[in-house]
Structures are given as structure tokens and as C-alpha cells.
């Protein structure tokens, strides 16, 4: 009961966040000097054609009314134009891209597998490797291993994705020709090619994000190892393996979960740079395309989607945290 209420409150506040993001994005893009209707008016574009396109796209109202229509469309769906040529965008309609002639939801859904493959693969890699290395560094504190890992992690934190990515492409892709330089193959088409095309982006992303985890896991491990309950576990006569693996590790992962969720939410939403660097046709590129083409509905939709992921990630983190940490559970 309390859990349900908590969840509802979280969902409501998440929806509030999305509403504000949508509103701000809508307002900002309506300040753009360009006019989406202009772009689909044709060449040369006469004022009559422009008015026609505007009316069809629903741009002939003040922007706040358009915002209202947008919100209504999410619930009821939308229809542009009338008669035989009417374009139907079924509910939930997060806008319709006239340039791509498809509902935004569908465009995002088409691109999502790429971004998810990229993000999840890299995330698993960096979480596992990052935490493992961080724990090793903590256990070997003060040794050469610790110093080397510490140095590498600062380097990893400091290197921009695109720089590392470019070097990777240059070295492994062009010079050594061991991995493909860009592109994406769907998992369903060929799992091997799928992984093969993603290896480099995974590694680069994992290197960069993993560095933070190494540092955090190390610090957390040191902290946990100095906790009383670890001393208790040792005093019981438990093996060091059990002490570290059972008693310490669970507590080490707690703060990492929060970070991981945020990173994952941010990564899915902000895959822009990664996808640009590696030429992956994911949601991030869709976003860049939308910016480049001033495809307002698509822009709004992808922005909202990115925000949606972050919000969802936050909620999931809270729930997972509750699972992992009994103290955070709501009675």
C-alpha cells in the first residue's frame, strides 16, 4: 500500500518533470527563426503554399495552443488534414514528423534497438569491469596495482569520448582493420556482426564511464572495509573471500546503483556524441538529424524521450535501491 502510494507519487513527479521539459522545449523551439512549414513548402515556395502547409501541419495557431494540441494528441491521437490525404498519428501521439512521414514514436522505436544495444552493452561492460577493478584496487591498496589503476582511471575520466573514439577508429578500424569503422547490424540479422560492430563503441564508452566506477568502487570498498560489520564478519572467522564477496560487496554496490541508473538514463538520452562519433543510427543521431533538419516534432519527441528515460531511470534506481538496501524499503 505504502509502496504503491510511493510509486504513484514518484510517477506523478516524473510526469511533472516531463511536462516542464516538454513545455520549455516547445517554447524554445518556437522561438527559432525558422518555420517547419517553410521546410516542407517546396521550391520555389509561394505564400499560398506556405499557408497551406502551415494549416495542414497545425502550425496556424499560436504556439501555446499548439502545445495544448500536442498534449491532447498524447491521449487521443491526432489527425492532420482531412479527407483522403489525412495523416493519422495514433495515440499516444508524441508528434508526427512530416519530413520522415512517420509518427515520432515509430521513428524512435525504429532507432531504439541501436541505442539500447550500445548503451546496455557498454553499461554491462563498464559496470562489471569497473567495479571489479575498483574492488581489486581497494584490496591491494597502496600497491603498484592500485597506483596503476588509479592513474588509468583519472586518465579515463579526463578523456573525451570523441577523442578516444576517434583514436580507436583510427587505430583499430583503419590502421589495423580489426573492427568495422562504423555502422550497425541488427541483432536479429546477425548476432556476430551486431557485436562486432559494437565492440569499439562499447570499449570506448566502457573505458570512459568505467573509470568513474573504478574510483567510486575503490573508495566505497575502502570505506566498507573499515566498517564495524566487516570487522564482525572477520571476527566470526569467515574467510576473506566471504567477507569481501558477501558482506562488503553488497554494500559497495549501493551507491554505485544510483550512479549507474543516472548514467544509463543519461547515456540513452545523451548518446548524441557517441553515436555521432561511431556513425550509429540510434536515437542520438535521430536527435542530431532532427536538429539539423529543424524537424520540430521529431526534436520535441526525442527530447521528451531522452527526458523520459532519465526520469524512468531515476525511478528504477530508487526501486532497485530499495531491493538492495532493506533500510530504504518502505514499510
Amino acid at each position: 500500500m505504502a509502496t504503491a502510494r510511493y510509486l504513484l507519487t514518484r510517477l506523478a513527479s516524473g510526469a511533472g518533470v516531463l511536462l516542464v521539459v516538454a513545455f520549455v522545449t516547445f517554447a524554445v523551439f518556437n522561438l527559432l527563426p525558422s518555420d517547419p512549414a517553410q521546410l516542407s513548402c517546396g521550391r520555389p515556395c509561394t505564400p499560398e503554399n506556405l499557408a497551406l502547409a502551415k494549416g495542414f501541419m497545425g502550425l496556424d495557431h499560436p504556439w501555446y495552443q499548439q502545445f495544448g494540441q500536442f498534449l491532447a494528441g498524447i491521449v487521443t491521437g491526432r489527425t492532420f488534414g482531412t479527407g483522403a490525404t489525412a495523416v493519422v498519428c495514433p495515440a499516444p501521439c508524441f508528434g508526427y514528423s512530416f519530413q520522415e512521414t512517420a509518427p515520432v514514436v515509430q521513428l524512435i522505436a525504429d532507432r531504439l534497438p541501436v541505442t539500447v544495444s550500445l548503451a546496455l552493452g557498454a553499461a554491462v561492460l563498464w559496470l562489471v569491469v569497473g567495479v571489479a577493478l575498483g574492488v581489486v584496487a581497494a584490496l591491494r591498496r597502496g600497491t603498484a596495482v592500485d597506483h596503476v589503476l588509479g592513474g588509468l582511471s583519472v586518465v579515463g575520466v579526463s578523456a573525451p569520448v570523441y577523442l578516444l573514439g576517434l583514436l580507436g577508429i583510427l587505430l583499430l578500424g583503419f590502421t589495423l582493420d580489426v573492427v568495422p569503422v562504423s555502422g550497425y547490424v541488427p541483432l536479429t540479422q546477425s548476432p556476430v556482426d551486431w557485436a562486432w560492430h559494437l565492440v569499439l563503441p562499447w570499449i570506448v564508452l566502457a573505458l570512459i564511464n568505467g573509470a568513474v566506477y573504478v574510483r567510486l568502487a575503490r573508495g566505497q570498498m575502502l570505506e566498507v572495509l573499515s566498517e564495524d560489520y566487516v570487522r564482525t564478519a572477520r571476527a566470526k572467522g569467515l574467510r576473506e573471500r566471504t567477507v569481501v564477496g558477501k558482506h562488503a560487496l553488497r554494500n559497495v554496490t549501493l551507491p554505485l546503483v544510483t550512479l549507474f541508473g543516472l548514467d544509463l538514463g543519461g547515456l540513452l538520452g545523451g548518446a548524441v556524441i557517441t553515436e555521432k562519433t561511431f556513425g550509429m543510427p540510434g536515437v542520438g543521431s535521430l536527435l542530431l538529424d532532427a536538429v539539423g533538419q529543424l524537424d520540430l516534432p521529431l526534436l520535441l519527441g526525442t527530447t521528451l524521450f531522452a527526458a523520459f528515460l532519465i526520469v524512468v531511470a531515476n525511478i528504477v534506481v530508487d526501486l532497485v535501491y530499495g531491493l538492495l538496501d532493506p533500510r530504504a524499503r518502505i514499510a
Binding site: 513527479s13 516524473g14 511533472g16 518533470v17 516531463l18 516542464v20 521539459v21 520549455v24 522545449t25 524554445v28 523551439f29 522561438l31 527559432l32 527563426p33 591498496r141 583519472v154 586518465v155 575520466v157 579526463s158 578523456a159 573525451p160 570523441y162 577523442l163 576517434l166 583510427l170 583503419f174 573508495g219 575502502l222 570505506e223 543516472l262 538520452g269 545523451g270 548524441v272 556524441i273 555521432k276 536527435l287 542530431l288 536538429v291 526534436l299 526525442t302 527530447t303 531522452a306 527526458a307 532519465i310 526520469v311 531515476n314
Partner: protein, 279 residues
Amino acid sequence: MLIVGFVLLALAAPLITRITGQDPYTYDKTALDPASGLPAGPLGGISAEHWFGVEPLTGRDVFAIVAHGARTSFLIGVLATAVAVVLGVALGASAGYFGGWWDRVVGWTGDVLFGFPYLVFMIALSAVAPPSIPQTLLLVVVIGFFGWPRVARVVRSATLGVARRDFVRASQVMGSPAWRTLTRRVLPNLWGPVVVVATLSIPERIGLEAALSFLGVGVHPPTPSWGRSISDAIGWVQTDPMLLVFPGLALFGATLAFNLLGDGLRDALDPRTARDGAH
């Protein structure tokens, strides 16, 4: 240290320009190979005159570009951090200290900003912003603005910790006005976490500016920027790799330096790690 070196480089860039006679704006066709537009000479045209070589197609001095790029990066990185820190400390400390509805409002606004795909927003904003607003200012304000929630979170929890301590309660009990207690008792005890979070966020902001410039929506050319230099160099990577190497190293070095400084500060200010360091 590295940072001092970078800061000196950034500050002295105009001076260096005067001494070497190179500035990042002047085209110099004589430094180019007329047959290809590539820099004349090996390693991207490195010479006594052009320490880092020259840019292909334009013949501009890469050292001057990197040095002036440092100015851009530091200016934006430091000012944006300042914006983020000022906003973050003001909002985070007041939210943590006063609590109640104000805390909820600040927390929720922070959530909204966390949920905001700010990269897209900045890309769009640079397209909308009227040209009368200097791009640098816009970047500082926007990058800084999106940075405050993180600072605020750190500051808020630190404030909660400090405000729970008895000396703050003592001050309240003595009848000190809330504002005075906040500024005289709470804030001064927050500088440790604030300095650490600020130092660690400078490289992040520098990186963000570079990323935006990399995507083509940062500072406008011809103002030099490391991110744009890197983006420009991508195409030349096989014919003129030095063009990527210098700004790439500079960006990497600067971020690294600030991260190291931030780590050092954190270790120094955190008694636990300081103790670790003793043995």
C-alpha cells in the same frame, strides 16, 4: 604543475602571439604546400616559426590556435563553473537550511534539470539565440545553469550535515537571525565540499564546451576552441595527424590536470582519506 602551465599559457596567449608573431586568425598561404593545401614541411609543418605546425588550407599557426583555445576553454570552463557554483551554493544551502517548501521547490527544479537533455537544448539554443548575445556569454550562462543542480545536491546534503551540528543550533538558540546563521555559521563550513565539487566540475565544463564545439554549436569561428580544432582535425587525421594531436593533448591535459587537482583537494580535505594517506 600542469594547471599552472595551462593557466599561464591561457593568460599569456596574446603575449606569446606578440613574441612569436603568430596569431590564430591570419591566413598564411606561404606555409602551405601549393600542390595540396597541406602544411609545407614534415609533421604538419612544425618549424621554429610554427611550433605546432600550421593548419591545412589556411596556414594558420596551430600553436597560436591551441594557446588561444586555452583562453576560450578556461574562460568558459571557469566562468561556467562559477555560475554553477554560485547558483548551486545559494540554492543548495538555502534549501538544506530552510527545508520545507523551498527545499522541495529547489529539489524538484533540480530534478527537472537533471531530466533535461541539456545537450540538445544547448544545440537548439545556439541556433535560436539572437546574434546580439555573444556566444561565449551564452555558453557560460547555459553550461553554468545546467551545472547548478549537481553542486546544489552536494551543498544541500553538506548543509544538512552542518546544520544538524550543535554549533549551528547554538547560534539559532542565541537568537541569531536565520540569514546570519546561514551565512556566518553554515556557509563557511561548506567550503571544503564546495571547493572539491567546483574543481572537479571545471574539467567537466571544459569538456562540455569542447563537446559543443565539436558538434559545431560552441564558440563561433574564428575564435579558437579545442573542441572545434579536434572536430576540424578529424578529416585530416590520416594526412596531417599533428592537427589532432596538439589540441587533443591540450584538452586532455587540461581536464586531467583539473581532475588531479580535484582529487588531491578531496583527499586533503577529507580526514578519512587523509588518514589513509598517512601510512
